[in-house]
């Protein structure tokens, strides 16, 4: 970035935080679909890494292309059975840790170092979502 005239910017995190403050419905929906976004990124990333179209990935998963498109939308949380299917077919590992906000989970933190992770709190409960290959 230009050192002499650094342009004004906002990070995505700041924008989401501002949106969450002024629209509580957005905040609730955004937090509730954290798992959907994490899984979507895993699926898109897998396709990119293996040079697959949505249709080709659907064949690997034994589903139709629109099913993959839905997963990649990141708008709806997948069922546990869907995560099992993805894990089995693609060798992806998902870790979901739900616990009181005050308690730490050293095991999960240790296991997810340098992996994808999404964390949010909901009514005093911490939800940590992680995925790894």
């Amino acid at each position: 970035m230009n050192q002499t005239t650094t342009p004004k910017t906002k990070t995505l995190g700041t924008l989401v935080a501002e949106e969450s403050l002024r629209d509580l419905v957005f905040r609730e929906e955004w937090e509730q679909t954290a798992l959907a976004r994490l899984v979507a990124a895993q699926i898109v990333g897998y396709r990119a890494q293996h040079g697959l179209s949505q249709r080709a990935l659907a064949e690997r998963l034994g589903v139709k292309q629109p099913y993959v498109a839905r997963l990649e939308s990141g708008e709806r949380n997948p069922e546990i059975s869907t995560l099992v299917r993805i894990s089995r077919a693609l060798g992806v590992e998902f870790l979901i840790d739900i616990r009181p906000e005050t308690k730490k989970s050293a095991r999960l933190v240790t296991r997810t170092v340098a992996r994808d992770e999404a964390t949010h709190t909901h009514d005093g409960v911490a939800v940590v979502l992680a995925a790894a290959k």
Binding site: M1, N2, T5, P7, K8, T9, K10, T11, L12, L15, V16, E19, D23, V25, F26, E29, W30, R37, L38, A40, A41, Q42, V44, G45, Y46, R47, A48, Q49, Q54, A69, E72, S73, G74, E75, V92, A114, D116, A131, A132, K133
Partner: protein, 112 residues
Amino acid sequence: MAGHPYLVVVDADAFIEFESLRGREERKATFNALDKLRQLGPNLVPPHASKLKGEPDLMELRPRQGKSQVRPIYARIADGEYVVPAFAIAADKADFEDAVKNARVRSVRYRA
């Protein structure tokens, strides 16, 4: 797979354009697309992103896999860092062309 998260920043002028976007669903879909860029960086592939013809340094995000009318234009500015210098908000060609033109001009600000 999705690697470590990338840094995604939005240019102040682009943010003003984004603020003209009304409707929670469209805004949420746009944030979702930006978050995909944050999670995936260069591994974000079609139909979620695509190259812009004649613009080697710019790409477009395609919220809701292209079903949204919104097109955030983005550029890689450093290793692991992306900027969104402009948004096309309206579903018409002129607005999109203006956004690409704005993105081209504004992205110069971020060149090292």
